[in-house]
């Protein structure tokens, strides 16, 4: 049982589990925080960005000034943004048999794995995961491809050069691994390798293990996975939530009795309670709009936005915001809003029942109908005609490096009436804002992360009681900025095993059993003997047949017929020779009775000595010694075979044969 850890990001995991004879990749998250080192891609020519000065080294050399630009004391790479891929060198990824995806945020590196590594296996994911994952990828590709960048910077990645750069570029890890975004054809090819699964569906992998997705409560179609054989059970817990939001609630019971529980995807903001944050979001939004300002919400096109729209639906009338337009701008805005309404079976109970009324499960349908919420593929086209201020705009990307959000940051950044509200927890908001400084716009950080917090984790672990817990190293110590908060770490007994990027863990669990089937004919031929009440034994002579990781005991071949005629004997090599069986013995020898028996049979000088492990019966006259121990009996006599046989038969009288 080995775990290869390919990602260092606790919420965007990518691990490979070697279990029995299978190689299973658990999620393939893409760490996009690397894009924060790049300049934003403006949709419309931005004079401010294009006039940024090139970066000059301390010694005055300017060879990097085309690649690196300086903005308010920060240095950014002026190039197409690049992403930090999971580790590809730790093991040969072409040997991966299957990839299990737990939610749509954790599959963004999929094209890099399936299209670049020789991967030939299958990917398993639920339908909403695939559909929404496709939307996220489509939006990503679209936002980057529609702003072609002439140049591509690579000089700064040179190790010698990188050493000279200011932080954070100097400390950026694995820059040689950073890759440009994939293309739509690659996305399509990757998605075509996915096989759809439903919750609790059991999928056999090569007869060796069975994998099952379970609802994890975090997002539409999000799942945890059970990977089990007959005697071992590994649970993989990725982004999960116990809060009542839109998805089906988390299935905790099925995680019970795991030998190993791999725990990833906990909340990134353990100190922020999502309810409080939603309140904060609404209050700040209302305050801004009432003062005549605009609100910008950088967000993903799916996920928390559904819950936010639902909150706003209840809130806007009471807050007197009915006349303020809400805009949702994304190339996939329409599909996202519509998909959410059709995945009824993946929704929480409340929303499912609405479908039978029939009503749309999410109230954003009504917002759209009443024209309070309008959605557009981009700022070009219809949007510019409808655009009214003050307004609220939801748009991507939360990193503020590409997508329509860049335009709004440039447009609204200069006025202190406007507010940008960060709700996605994936990026540091200060880093995201760095290339827009100086900024007059108000910034509010309301990260809404519904994934498990540490209190919930400790309850969960108490409930499901796994033998061992494995988690990213970040979860085994308090957050670096709050070192006194010892409550913000995974607390369990035995302490969790931790992993970091590019580490291989041997999981502390030894496999001890294997299941073997007995063919009915063979089973018929067995004659069990009860040796203790409730325990019967039988000897089995059979041929072990192993195929597709399944083991079957079959009847042994008939002993070769004695040649009836004088035909030439056929030699068959594949049938093993079957030797006659010696009987097996069981039972114990009561020394007193044994001595009596010996005396009955004429041995008069019997002497018994106790030893540490049993007894020694001494026949002095015959110079013979019988050593009786729990698991062996030895008769030691000198060249007196008849005596030995006689003694042996006396011993055997006390034992059972079968």
């Amino acid at each position: 049982l080995k775990l290869y850890c390919l990602s260092g990001h606790p919420t965007l995991p990518c691990n490979v589990l070697k279990f029995k004879s299978t190689t299973i990749m658990l999620d393939c998250g893409l760490d996009m925080t690397s894009t924060l080192n790049f300049l934003p891609l403006p949709l419309v020519q931005s004079p401010r960005l294009s006039k940024l000065p090139g970066w000059v080294l301390k010694d005055g050399s300017t060879f990097l000034d085309k690649e690196l630009k300086e903005c308010s004391g920060h240095v950014f790479v002026d190039s197409v943004p690049e992403f930090c891929l999971p580790e590809t060198e730790l093991l040969d990824l072409s040997t991966v048999d299957v990839i299990l995806i737990s939610n749509y945020h954790c599959m963004m590196a999929l094209p890099y794995i399936t299209e670049y590594t020789g991967f030939t296996g299958t990917v398993y994911a639920t339908e909403p995961t695939v559909q929404i994952g496709r939307l996220l990828m489509e939006e990503l590709v679209n936002s980057i491809e529609r702003v072609p960048k002439a140049q591509s910077a690579s000089m700064w990645k040179n190790k010698e050069v990188q050493r000279l750069l200011p932080t954070p570029l100097k400390d950026a890890v694995e820059v040689s691994m950073w890759r440009k975004c994939y293309t739509m054809p690659e996305v399509n090819a990757a998605l075509s390798k996915i096989q759809l699964v439903g919750y609790s569906q059991k999928i056999e992998l090569f007869g060796a293990v069975q994998v099952t997705p379970l609802s994890s409560g975090y997002a539409l179609g999000s799942s945890n996975w059970i990977i089990q054989s007959h005697y071992e059970k590994v649970s993989y817990v990725s982004g999960s939530s116990l809060l009542t939001t839109h998805p089906q609630p988390m299935d905790q019971a099925s995680l019970k009795n795991s030998d190993v529980l791999i725990l990833t995807g906990l909340t990134q903001i353990p100190t922020a309670n999502p309810d409080g944050m939603v309140g904060e979001f609404c209050s700040n939004l209302a305050m801004t709009v009432r003062n005549g300002g605009n609100v910008l919400v950088p967000c993903y096109p799916s996920g928390v936005i559904y819950d936010l729209l639902e909150c706003l639906y209840q809130y806007i009338d009471s807050a007197g915001l009915s006349n303020v337009p809400f805009y949702f701008i994304s190339p996939v805005a329409n599909s996202s809003l519509e998909f959410s309404q059709i995945f009824a079976e993946w929704l929480c109970h409340n929303k499912q029942t609405k479908v039978y009324l029939p009503e749309p499960p999410f109230p954003h349908a009504e917002l759209i109908q009443t024209n309070k919420l309008k959605h557009y593929p981009s700022i070009h086209g219809d949007f510019s005609n409808d655009f009214k201020q003050p307004c609220v705009v939801f748009t991507g990307h939360p990193s503020l490096r590409f997508g329509d959000v860049v335009h709004f940051m440039e447009l609204w950044g200069k006025s202190s009436l406007n507010t940008v509200i960060f709700t996605e927890p994936d990026f540091s908001y200060l880093d995201a804002l760095a290339p827009y400084q100086p900024l007059a716009m108000k910034c509010v950080y309301c990260p809404i992360d519904t994934r498990l917090n540490f209190i919930q984790v400790s309850k969960l672990l108490k409930e499901v009681q796994p033998l061992h817990v494995v988690c990213p190293e970040q979860y085994t110590q308090p957050p670096p900025t709050q070192s006194h908060r010892t409550d913000l770490m995974v607390d369990c007994q035995p302490p969790p095993m931790s992993y970091r990027r590019a580490e291989v863990l041997t999981l502390p669990y030894k496999r001890r059993y294997e299941k073997i089937e007995i063919m009915p004919e063979l089973a018929d031929s067995l004659v069990p003997l009860e040796i203790k009440p409730g325990i019967s034994l039988a000897t089995v002579s059979a041929v072990l047949h192993t195929k597709d990781n399944k083991h079957v005991l079959q009847l042994p071949p008939k002993p070769p017929q004695p040649p009836a005629s004088k035909k030439r004997k056929r030699v068959s090599d594949d049938v093993p020779e079957c030797k006659p069986l010696k009987p097996l013995l069981s039972g114990s020898i009561p020394v007193d009775q044994f001595v009596q028996t010996l005396e009955k049979h004429g041995f008069s000088d019997v002497k018994v000595e106790d030893t540490a492990k049993g007894h020694i019966v001494l026949l002095q006259e015959a110079e013979t010694l019988i050593q009786i121990e729990e698991d062996s009996t030895h008769i030691i006599c000198d060249n007196d075979e008849p005596l030995r046989v006689k003694l042996r038969d006396l011993v055997l009288k006390f034992l059972q044969k079968f």
Partner: protein, 817 residues
């Protein structure tokens, strides 16, 4: 009664019989004159299976009858008492299983226990054993009554049967007392904790109710045993000891003694666990007669957890000290605080005790206020995870306390109470840092936020007082600015509880600080005004009500202030008044309407409604809006407004407030009278008042009657009341007579005249003057006060209440009828 054996027979009826029809006549005459009483008892006893409620009644009845010695003897002669209370009575029958029978027995015995024969009757018949057993009765009422009965019997026995005063050396108790004391001593020495507990309870209530010197003699006999409970861990009686010692401490018999008793209290404070000692300590600190050293020790018990918190959070050297280390051993408290199960409850209990102490106006001890405040701030910072503790104990406590709402609430309560005490001023800056962190944090729960608002408003008042004296305006301004910033955000919260408590906070601030310039400036320069006015249209009625109150108070700063600042708001004074009027007439919920009427009254009281003519128009409009309001509290509020209006008008027009004041000139006085009468008529005051006399909700009628009586005093000096008989000739006379008749029938509301006819012209000054003089308002007043609840419980009122509650949905209406 005897034959009514239906299971539903109502014991209330028997209760009424016992309670109301009995005028206790100590002679035996009552029983002799009413043979039916003994016959009744006899026949109940003859029943093969009397119902438990009849039997219980009979026991209580017999007890009451036997309360006088003469009647007791009479009943004894007929052997009724033995058959009821003796061994052969219900005591040994199956009916004893019924708690009401046992309760009747105890009550009966208690009632008769007024003379020695009754005492002897019970003691000789073995009744004491029964009562002692009943102390452990499964029915708590019976058990408690049994305890009270024993106390009563003991007191009666000692006080009626003693021939010479007791002394410690020669305690010759009367027989009955001897029996009870023996039982108490025996059970104290037993190993049964329930017996010990019962005896301790009994002693507690004895020492609490009886302050005679013999109680000390009794105590000296058992003191050793009770002392041993403190040290013996095998007996679980410690938790009862605090109550016992407290009740003794209040008794002059014990608290004035030297040594002994207080030594025991000291020992109790040492030996009881902090949780058990807490109530004792707080009780002792409220006591004036407590010796100083005991007081210090009690204070130590209460402050130790706070001290422990302070030490756990700070470096050893920087620890300022809440307690002198020589007087306290912190080990027990430390171990309690570091355990998850006990930490929160110990802290909450300690904080509740401290709040109780701080709420006393005269506190007999000086608390170390600064350190206490420091400790409270530490607790609050532990709770929101803002404090990094410096010791291992600190990290354990911090882990337990993070997000504990209970502790947060209790600590904030104490914090609010502490604001009244002087001596914490050095910490003000950091205190507001803590409070603001709570106000700003989105993780603060609505109930904790409410408490934070309460504490903040109290400390802001304190801050303002201080900055007046030491001119630290800058700090105050900065804090106010921060407070208003966070208030703005909270006013926009999607959670209505938060919006509501934010508005309450604003109102509280305006009430206390509206005269302070810095406060007014900070408030007016923030967005709070606009946001508050927006909340008048909140979907939640509580929030609208709070918004009305807040806007009403804001008006004192904005529109009614002498140098009213120009604010570019959508609302000016007229708009605000119109908006509140609109809420009063159209809001579907009662709370906002009640808030409006009380704000209007407040405005009127403070003379903010303009000149007399404006006020007249204003009051008239309000009256017409509220007189048909479905909510009686709104109508009552309307009457209050009318009352203020009337007294102000009369004052302004120069009538003497006091009817006995010398009248300067008959002419001027009658001119003023006329004028005010005209004003009241024009404002339709009488219309409203007379109509309210017949209001289906009694408080409204009573209030209207009071106001009318007050008016009459103004218009008729005592001697000049008119005779109603002679006045019927005029038209006004006839109509007033009609009014009087209608009022007597209590049906003015239905037959209220819309126009002429028989009716009264309520706007005609002459008729009204006549009505005031002739209608017997005193009689009406008595009528309204006398009838306990017939008006409120009348079917019509009930029906109207139901209709008002369910609204006017048609199907509901049908159901109601």
């Amino acid at each position: 009664m005897r034959e009514d054996r239906s299971p539903g027979s109502d014991s209330l009826f028997y209760g009424l019989f016992l309670g109301n029809t009995w005028s206790l006549d100590p002679t035996a005459k009552l029983v002799q004159d009413n043979p039916c009483l003994t016959e009744f008892i006899t026949s109940v006893l003859a029943l093969p299976e009397p119902s438990p409620s009849i039997l219980s009644f009979t026991l209580r009845l017999a007890g009451i009858l036997a309360a006088s010695e003469n009647r007791f003897q009479l009943l004894q002669q007929e052997k009724l008492l033995v058959r009821l209370f003796g061994r052969d009575g219900p005591l040994n029958s199956a009916l004893w299983e019924d708690a009401s029978v046992r309760s009747g027995w105890v009550e009966g015995v208690h009632s008769m226990m007024h003379h020695q024969p009754a005492l002897r009757f019970l003691c000789d018949g073995g009744g004491i054993d029964v009562i002692f057993t009943l102390q452990g009765d499964p029915s708590l009422f019976v058990a408690s009554a049994a305890g009270q009965l024993l106390v009563h019997m003991l007191t009666l026995s000692v006080e009626s049967e003693m021939t010479k005063p007791l002394s410690t050396k020669d305690c010759d108790w009367p027989a009955c007392a001897q029996m009870i004391i023996k039982r108490i001593e025996d059970s104290l020495q037993s190993s049964s904790s329930s017996h010990i507990e019962q005896s301790l309870k009994l002693l507690t209530s004895l020492f609490g109710s009886c302050r005679a010197t013999w109680t000390e003699v009794l105590w000296l006999g058992i003191a050793k045993q009770i002392e041993s409970f403190l040290t013996e861990e095998t007996v679980q009686a410690q938790h009862m000891l605090a109550n016992l010692l407290l009740s003794m401490a209040w008794s002059p018999v014990f608290c004035d003694t030297e040594g002994g008793f207080w030594a025991l209290v000291t020992s109790a404070l040492e030996h009881l666990t902090p949780v058990q000692a807490g109530p004792l300590a707080v009780g002792l600190l409220r006591l004036y007669k407590c010796p100083q050293d005991v007081r210090i020790q009690a204070l130590t018990v209460l402050l130790q957890p706070m001290d422990c918190i302070l030490r756990a959070a700070s470096q050893p050297l920087e620890y300022a000290g809440l307690l002198d280390e020589s007087v306290s051993d912190p080990a027990t408290v430390e171990s309690l605080l570091s355990s998850k199960s006990s930490c929160v409850s110990l802290l909450c209990q300690t904080l509740a005790h401290l709040e109780e102490l701080l709420s006393l106006i005269h506190l007999p001890v000086d608390l170390p206020y600064t350190s206490l405040l420091h400790s409270l701030m530490t607790i609050l910072q532990f709770c929101n995870g803002f404090l990094s503790p410096a010791s291992p104990l600190g990290s354990t406590i911090s882990r337990i306390l993070i997000n504990s709402f209970r502790v947060q609430r209790s600590a904030l309560d104490v914090l609010a109470a502490l604001s009244e005490r002087k001596g914490c001023d050095t910490l003000l800056g950091s205190l507001f840092d803590v409070l603001l962190a709570y106000l700003e944090s989105p993780n603060t729960s609505p109930t904790v936020l409410k408490k934070t608002f309460q504490a903040t408003s109290k400390w802001l008042v304190r801050l303002q007082e201080l900055s007046c004296s030491n001119s630290q305006w800058q700090q105050t301004e900065k804090i106010l600015e921060d407070v208003f910033l966070v208030l703005q955000k909270r006013l926009c919260s999607p959670c209505w509880e938060v919006r509501d408590s934010s508005l309450e906070f604003l109102t509280a601030l305006i009430k206390c600080l509206r005269d302070q310039d810095e406060f007014r400036q900070s408030l007016l320069s923030s967005e709070v005004l606009k946001l508050t006015e927006n909340l008048l249209e909140d979907p939640e009625s509580y929030v609208r009500a709070s918004a009305v109150t807040a806007v009403g108070h804001l008006a004192f700063i904005t529109y009614f202030a002498p140098e009213s600042p120009a604010i570019g708001n959508q609302y000016n004074k007229e708009n605000t008044v119109a908006k509140l009027q609109e809420i009063l007439s159209t809001d579907p919920e009662g709370f906002p309407r009640r808030a409006v009427i009380s704000i209007f009254t407040k405005w009127l009281r403070q003379g903010c409604t303009g000149q007399l003519e404006d006020t007249e128009r204003f009051v008239s409009r309000v009256i017409q809006t509220v007189e048909h309001d479905l909510d009686w509290e709104v109508r009552l509020g309307g009457l209050e407004l009318v009352e203020v209006f009337c007294s102000q008008t009369i004052c302004q027009l120069g009538l003497p407030k006091c009817p006995y004041a010398p009248v300067s000139s008959a002419v001027t006085s009658s001119i003023h009278q006329n004028e005010s009468l005209h004003i009241f008529c024009r404002a339709k005051v009488f219309n409203f008042l007379f109509q309210s006399l017949c209001d289906c909700d009694k408080p409204v009628g009573q209030r209207a009657c009071d106001i009318l009586l007050g008016l009459r005093c103004n218009f008729y000096p005592v001697s000049t009341l008119k005779d109603s008989q002679g006045a019927e000739d005029s038209r006004a006379g006839r109509s007033v007579a009609w009014l009087q008749r209608t009022l007597r029938q209590g049906s003015l509301a239905q037959s209220f005249p819309t126009d002429g006819g028989n009716g009264v012209d309520f706007q005609d000054p002459e008729s009204m003057l006549l009505a005031l003089g002739t209608i017997d308002l005193e009689e009406l007043h008595d009528e309204l006060n006398k009838s306990s609840d017939h008006v409120e419980k009348s079917p019509q009122s009930l029906l109207q209440d139901i209709l008002a509650t369910v609204g006017t949905i048609e199907e509901n209406e049908a159901d109601c009828y």
